[in-house]
């Protein structure tokens, strides 16, 4: 049954998925092309000195990309469910309603993991060509919350879309917005080194938030 559910979810997001892969990997490649041209104009030592001593973040172009992708995948998955209340069809399938909701979320998480892994591999792989290990390690720590914001945006999109009452939707949006803002407060490279574990726990907790909206939908909240 999960195969059928994944098939439905894939039909919904496949265009957005490939678009996200192209944009995600494309922007990462474009970022390194810019760095390459900057390195051609600037002495390498000076460029590295800026990164290490002046907190220069060479990958800011990357910053809100996972957030946007997470949001886009979430909207692609959950807006069609709420259009004409099609979620009724999904909840009527002969599986447990919570399981149906979690299968949809699992598919989104899987898709985001694939997209983000590709982006991360390109980011780290090409980065290692230009920069020493230490700089790339700090860069990885810095981008980790940005990727987590993408997952958080996906979970919040699901929770908001399935919620039947508008005032609750707005409340979730405000709470979700504040939650996501947390990932972007600090700008210095490596600032979140001790927070990433905590962020991860919060994001995992958010992953089941859709169950609350499904419960409220089934209760018939209007």
């Amino acid at each position: 049954m999960w195969k059928s559910m994944f098939y439905k979810e894939w039909i919904k997001i496949r265009l957005v998925f490939w678009l996200s892969v192209i944009v995600g990997v494309g922007v990462t490649l474009a970022m390194y092309m810019i760095i390459r041209s900057e390195l051609a104009d600037t002495p390498v030592n000076h460029y590295l000195w800026k990164i290490m001593n002046r907190d220069f973040v060479f990958f800011t172009l990357f910053k809100f990309l996972p957030l946007g992708i997470g949001l886009l995948i979430g909207l692609a998955q959950f807006i069609p469910e709420m259009t004409e209340k099609r979620i009724k069809l999904t909840l009527h399938l002969p599986i447990n309603e919570e399981k149906a909701g979690l299968q949809m979320v699992a598919f989104g998480v899987m898709s985001l993991t694939i997209i983000f892994s590709l982006m991360f591999l390109v980011f780290i792989g090409i980065g290692r060509y230009y920069f020493p290990y230490e700089i790339i390690r700090v860069a990885a720590i810095t981008v980790a919350p940005w990727f987590m914001s993408g997952f958080a945006a996906f979970f919040i999109a699901g929770m908001v879309a399935i919620e039947p009452i508008w005032k609750y939707r707005i409340a979730y949006l405000v709470i979700g917005g504040l939650f996501i803002k947390m990932f972007f407060i600090l700008w210095k490279a490596g600032s979140y080194i001790y927070a990433n574990g905590f962020f991860l726990i919060l994001v995992v907790l958010f992953s089941i938030s859709i169950l609350f909206s499904i419960y409220r939908f089934r209760k018939g909240e209007m």
Partner: protein, 295 residues
């Protein structure tokens, strides 16, 4: 006969607005029950309660032995559900949607679906969102036939269909339900179609049930009498003999469960002068409007 659905003392409110109180009805195995009512009388509310999308304020619905609030996957597999407006996964085409649903039902009857699809003038890759309402209704019906459930719950299936598709849908559905011994619960506000389909009817008015009986019994006992009165200001008290009446100038249309002689005695007892008294044959739609009123 075994009941497939038993609704007991259903009461529901939206905020302070009562939809109905203490609604009771059963659906016998193999019968087709139509829930008739004007817009906003609680038809879709009842469907939502039956499918577990709405928790009633009190009372319960038992479907195939389980409370509708917590239906098991098995019982859900035995309920074919058609949503108002034939809503389906419109982002799929007819091939994709069959492939999707078939994974959930071990006894999926692929041929039943494709037999019906063969009659539609659509290409296999045409998305459901680009189909006409009539074509979408056939897709939704085909999926239910392939699912082969014990109980079919159809919410206002006639909505948006032209007369040809309505007839096609009803004939196909009735033949299937009767041949396979399926139980059907359906709502509609296009009553003329229901006459060809349903065995029993429940007629809802705002906050109350007006009728719950076999259609044949309703049609044979509920009558319309027309007559002209000399005093056009005459008024009748509803309840008792008069279920409802309409006044058009000096012509009275009186709806009742009583016989002609009883009505004439009643008019005489009120001292109402009348002429041209006659019984008017009714369709189910006429009877529905007679009972619930035009407004």
């Amino acid at each position: 006969m075994e009941n497939i659905v038993e609704c007991r003392n259903l009461t529901h409110y939206y905020g302070n607005k009562m939809v109905y109180e203490d609604l009771n009805f059963n659906i016998k195995k193999g019968s087709i029950l139509g829930l008739l009512g004007k817009n906003g009388t609680g038809k879709t509310t009842t469907i939502n309660i039956l499918n577990g999308y709405l928790t009633p304020r009190s009372g319960e619905c038992i479907i195939l032995g389980e409370n509708s609030k917590n239906l098991s996957p098995y019982v859900k597999s035995q309920i074919g559900y058609l949503i108002e407006n034939h809503v389906q996964y419109a982002f799929m085409n007819i091939y994709q949607i069959e492939k999707f649903y078939s994974g959930f039902y071990p006894n999926w009857k692929r041929e039943a679906y494709y037999d019906l699809m063969a009659k539609l003038k659509v290409t296999p890759k045409q998305k459901i969102s680009t189909m006409s309402c009539g074509q979408r209704s056939q897709v939704a019906l085909g999926l239910i036939l392939a699912q082969d459930p014990e109980l079919l719950v159809l919410d206002d299936f006639t909505m948006g269909l032209d007369p040809g598709y309505r007839r096609l849908f009803i004939d196909y559905l009735r033949n299937y339900a009767k041949a396979e011994g399926k139980t059907v619960f359906t709502t509609s506000h296009i009553i003329q179609d229901m006459e060809r389909l349903i065995d029993e009817c429940i007629v809802f008015d705002y906050n109350k049930v007006l009728v719950y009986m076999p259609v044949k019994e309703f049609m044979s006992t509920f009558k319309q009498f027309n007559f002209e009165v000399t005093n056009p200001d005459v008024e009748f008290e509803k309840g008792g003999l008069v279920e409802n009446y309409e006044k058009i100038d000096s012509t009275i249309e009186l709806y009742t469960y009583s016989r002609a002689n009883e009505v004439e005695s009643y008019l005489a007892s009120l001292g109402i002068a009348y002429s041209n008294f006659r019984e008017v044959p009714m369709t189910l739609e006429d009877a529905f409007i007679g009972l619930t009123g035009k407004y």
